[in-house]
């Protein structure tokens, strides 16, 4: 059977708080739907095999690799991407902490790293260094900002514990 013979299926999914209904081929990945059908291009494709973490998003409260999930598997699910992390015009504590620690290099891994940190801090408001390392172990960063990620995760946790979840920014 060649690709054109597969029928398209209509699915509804909730992304960043909004319902979307899209037609997908059965072999289409959630990653492609998010990136190309919904235009959420913070979700990156780094390896297509669930090895690098650049496509990580949160689905129904769990961190997943969106390259390993078929779009139809996301039917009816709630998905959070970096675009939906903070209200428009604000930075989330994790983003603020990454800026405070001067962690930015190429930034390609950042959307996935931020989602992994969010997933960690949702579960564990005061993680140890080992817990942070474990939680980010699926996110590769070739520029080598890892030490800053550890500092930033601790700082973000501190912000959130103090009730500072969102920050104003100049930009």
């Amino acid at each position: 059977m060649s690709t054109e013979e597969y029928p398209e299926i209509e699915i509804t999914l909730n992304v960043n708080g909004k319902d979307y209904t899209v037609k997908v081929k059965p072999y289409e990945r959630l990653l492609d739907v998010l990136r190309y059908k919904l235009g959420l291009s913070s979700v990156k494709e780094g390896c297509g095999r669930g090895e690098c973490g650049t496509c990580a998003v949160i689905m129904d409260g769990k961190l997943i690799a969106s390259c390993l999930v078929l779009a139809i598997q996301a039917r009816g699910k709630k998905i959070l991407t970096l675009e939906g992390l903070a209200p428009p015009g604000k930075l989330h504590a994790i983003q603020k902490a990454l800026l405070d620690t001067y962690a930015m290099q190429c930034g390609f891994c950042f959307p996935g790293v931020i989602m992994a940190m969010k997933s960690l801090l949702d579960r564990n408001p005061n993680p140890t260094e080992d817990e942070i390392r474990e939680a980010l172990s699926g996110n590769l960063c070739r520029c080598g900002s890892y030490l800053r990620f550890i500092k930033a995760a601790k700082l973000a946790a501190e912000y959130i514990r103090k009730g500072q979840v969102y920050f104003e920014f100049k930009g």
Binding site: S2, T3, E4, K25, Y27, R35, Y36, G39, S41, S42, K44, E45, G46, C47, G48, R49, E51, C52, T54, T81, L82, E83, L91, Q95, L98, L99, Y102, M104, Q105, C106, G107, F108, C109, F110, P111, I114, I132, R133, E134, L136, S137, G138, N139, L140, C141, R142, C143, G144, S145, Y146, L147, R148, F149, I150, F169, G171
Partner: protein, 792 residues
């Protein structure tokens, strides 16, 4: 006849002498693009797909054999697949079917033979990426397999370095030797006769992969006049334009290359960007539609350049009092199927081949050869990570033979101000190596830990090791070494910054803004950096060779200086004081002698517009001339060198052979720190990449030339679990007169010394010396077992 010294040379030297206090330079500052990146709004090349309708997708059909003659390519079945618009083969290339970087040895689309597993025989252009891939299976190629050579020692004799008899990979060139370089200094025979100790060893390094997180991508757009615009993930827009124009057979001015931010480069996005850009451009040319090509991770790993594997024989001699008397070396670099930047890599390796030491007698021979492996080219360090792995272990072994502490032994031999390099180059100032080593040793508690670790028992052992490094800045005698920027002050007082240098994550452009801000007296927030685009930014040469801060920085100083001169004159006129008395601290401009006399920055700019003073300036800088004598390896190969000292601390588990790097102190003499955040991140990032190179990374070919680990599940790069607890960056600012305020580059040097420092630390911990990379648990364990140091 001596030419008068160019104005730009004088400007850079004058600023070096004059300016010693800084507002922005050397400070921790947030990079200009941090906010858009943290919000996930930055558009990388593949993200542009969302902005174009009617896109077509390009899929590359790659070779089935690593070495074979092509008898016939049949695309008729692939063309019949519904949704396929065009199948492109070598016959469809309107210009020159070649994307070779230094040597025209690399067809874009293979025609007479394939030379490695990544060679492309056809391109499918289709309405949908899945259809394109499916159609790719229907391209039939009739191959006549040829013997596959993966071992470079089948190409050259390890002793004589003469070419052996074999089935030629590049029969059209009549030889598989790509390049040869040599150094002949003094008389090594005499040197070794004076030596009290001689240490001779073979070292090997592996094929290594950049593994930038963003795989290669390019998007081509047809223009109304028949030209083509290519948005591409490339380090070098002007180089990409040259290569793509050649393939398309179009003049340069009809090919436009635009470069969005890159998700990492590390040297890898040099020539492959030319290839992928040409693939997208061809598809657009032949279909009239916008075309996108994005490599999968597998294609990226199989289809782009690698770090050259090296086989190195080193013989070092030292006198009883610990002075180096002679170095002899033979270096074989495997450049894989195509030359790529191999000849330049071999040259850089040769230049640095004795390390940052005073060596009176040296004989070095380097040869780069073809094999049927993935082609090797530019990768952070450019030949230097390989040779440093060998040299720095040799230095430790000499120290051991002489029973001198390794740091003390190095201090007896390092280059200092006033010394000459092995090439006879006089380093009259700006050599901060001693400072770097002494500081690193102090901060790492070298002497105390060295003594402490000598007394260990048990199977978990700690070790500490040192390595030095040097790295010639910029392109050197490899080629034309110039840089350019333009700075435009807009009528609202905002500043536009343009350069053909790209940012692939390193943050060097931030350094350029800080330099311009320093001279102009306006905060970096006033600046907007325009995307590199051959339609607007000046050709600044390639973004390679750790040259952005030094070379781009000089060009920036020149442009900013010229603007500042004009601004001071107009302001002096407005404030009735002398131009030298003008202080600009935007949004204010005042007389230094009487700060009450002031105007607003915006008024100064408006006055310039009324007076007809142009506030668009171009800054150009040509590097000081480099010289290299091919017969002797003498001359001045690079105008200056970055120096460094690395100290690594490891924990080795003798029962598993596993090494954990606990701490690293990295001390670099980079002349002057410009972008401090960028410098620290380079020190950390280079250390982490070097750790991967040292302990885990290796591309493995099967005997048939297939790649066994073409994705990140099997090509291991460091994760956050593998990295040290601490990396301490230290900077020495020895100041080099022809760098911007004395600055030199750090991009590449930050990886050169890591693997040997770790190797020396392992030797210190458990008493075994691993002479091949990567130093995996298996190698360490088997060596411990072979030496009877572990019973298990």
């Amino acid at each position: 006849m001596a030419l008068p010294t160019a104005e730009y040379v004088k400007i850079v030297e004058e600023l070096f002498e004059k300016v010693k206090k800084f507002t922005y330079v050397g400070k921790h500052m947030q990079r200009w693009d941090a906010i858009e990146k943290i919000l996930g709004k930055t558009r990388f090349t593949a993200d542009y797909a969302n902005l174009y309708r009617n896109l077509v997708y390009v899929y590359s059909v790659r070779a089935k054999y690593a070495h074979a003659k092509i008898r016939k390519i049949d695309v008729s079945e692939a063309e019949k697949v519904s949704g396929v618009l065009k199948v492109i083969t070598h016959k469809d290339v309107p210009g020159v079917n070649d994307v070779g970087y230094v040597i025209p040895d690399q067809p874009l689309l293979a025609y007479s033979k394939v030379r490695y597993i990544g060679d492309i025989v056809a391109l499918i252009v289709a309405e949908d990426p899945y259809i394109a891939e499916e159609a790719g299976e229907k391209v039939y190629v009739d191959y006549e397999p040829l013997p596959v050579i993966i071992d470079p020692l089948e190409i050259v004799d390890p002793i004589t370095l003469e070419e052996k008899k074999h089935v030629l990979i590049h029969d059209e060139r009549e030889s598989d030797i790509v390049a040869r370089y040599r150094i002949r200094t003094g008389d090594v025979k005499k040197g070794f006769d004076q030596a009290s100790v001689i240490v001779e060893n073979e070292y090997r390094t592996q094929y290594a992969e950049h593994a930038y997180m963003e795989p290669e991508a390019a998007l081509a757009i047809p223009e109304p006049d028949g030209g083509i615009t290519i948005i591409a993930s490339t380090q070098c827009p002007y180089e990409a334009r040259r290569a793509i124009s050649k393939v398309l057979g179009m003049p340069f001015n009809k090919v436009r290359v635009v470069v969005p931010p890159l998700g990492g480069g590390f040297g890898g996005k040099e020539d492959v960007a030319n290839e992928i850009g040409a693939k997208a451009a061809l598809a657009t040319l032949l279909t009239g539609r916008p075309a996108i090509a994005v490599h999968t991770r597998e294609e990226s790993i199989i289809g782009h350049s690698k770090r050259h594997p090296a086989i190195m024989w080193y013989k070092h001699g030292a006198s009883r009092d610990g002075k180096l008397v002679a170095v002899e070396a033979r270096i074989i670099l495997d450049t894989g199927a195509y030359a790529s930047l191999g000849p330049f890599v071999a040259w850089r390796a040769t230049v640095h081949s004795v390390g940052p030491y005073k060596v009176p007698n040296a004989k070095v021979d380097t040869v780069a050869v073809y094999t049927n492996g993935i082609y090797a080219g530019a990768f952070r360090g450019f030949g230097n990570p390989q040779i440093h792995f060998a040299i720095e272990q040799q230095m430790d072994l000499l120290a051991e033979e002489l029973d001198i502490d390794p740091v003390e032994f190095r201090l007896k031999n390092i280059l200092r101000n006033g010394d000459r390099t092995v090439h006879g180059q006089l380093l009259d100032h700006g050599v901060g190596l001693e400072g770097a080593l002494v500081k690193a040793a102090k901060i790492a508690n070298w002497y105390r830990k060295r003594a402490e670790y000598a007394k260990q028992t048990g199977t978990i052992r700690k070790g500490i090791g040192a390595a030095l490094l040097w790295h010639g800045n910029s392109i050197g005698a490899e080629g034309a070494d110039y840089s350019a920027v333009s700075i435009i002050i807009n009528r609202d007082g905002s500043v536009t910054f343009r350069t053909g240098l790209t940012d692939f994550g390193q943050g060097a452009i931030q350094g350029l803004i800080m330099l311009a801000a320093e001279i102009l007296g306006v905060p970096p927030e006033y600046f907007r950096v325009e995307m590199p685009d051959t339609a607007s930014v000046p050709d600044a040469g390639p973004t390679v060779a750790s040259r952005t801060t030094a070379m781009g920085g000089n060009a920036t100083l020149v442009a900013a200086y010229k603007l500042r001169k004009k601004l001071n004159e107009v302001a002096a006129d407005m404030l009735k004081c002398s131009p030298d008395d003008i202080e600009i601290k935007a949004p204010e401009v005042y007389c230094r002698s009487d700060p009450a006399r002031k105007i607003r920055w915006i008024d100064l700019i408006e006055e310039c517009f009324w007076k007809g003073i142009s506030l668009q300036e171009y800054g150009y800088y040509r590097a000081p001339k480099a010289r290299w004598d091919d017969e002797t390896g003498h001359g001045e190969p690079y105008f200056t060198y970055t120096f460094g000292a690395i100290i690594a601390e490891v924990v080795v588990d003798m029962e598993t052979g596993k090494t954990y790097v606990e701490r690293m102190v990295t001390a670099y003499d980079i002349g002057r720190v410009v972008n401090r955040v960028g410098a620290e991140l380079h020190a950390e990032g280079g250390a982490i990449q070097g750790l991967g190179y040292a302990l885990m990374e290796e591309i493995v070919h099967s005997p048939e030339g297939k790649v066994w680990n073409p994705n990140l599940y099997a090509y291991y790069i460091p994760t956050i679990l593998d990295i040290p607890k601490e990396i301490i960056p230290i900077f020495v600012e020895a100041g080099y007169i022809r760098g911007p305020f004395g600055a030199k580059g750090l991009g590449e040097p930050s990886i050169n010394g890591i693997a040997p420092a770790i190797a020396n630390a392992i030797a210190n911990a458990v008493g075994v010396r691993i002479k091949s990379l990567p130093m995996t648990p298996e190698k360490v364990y088997l060596e411990l077992k072979r030496k009877g140091l572990i019973k298990l």
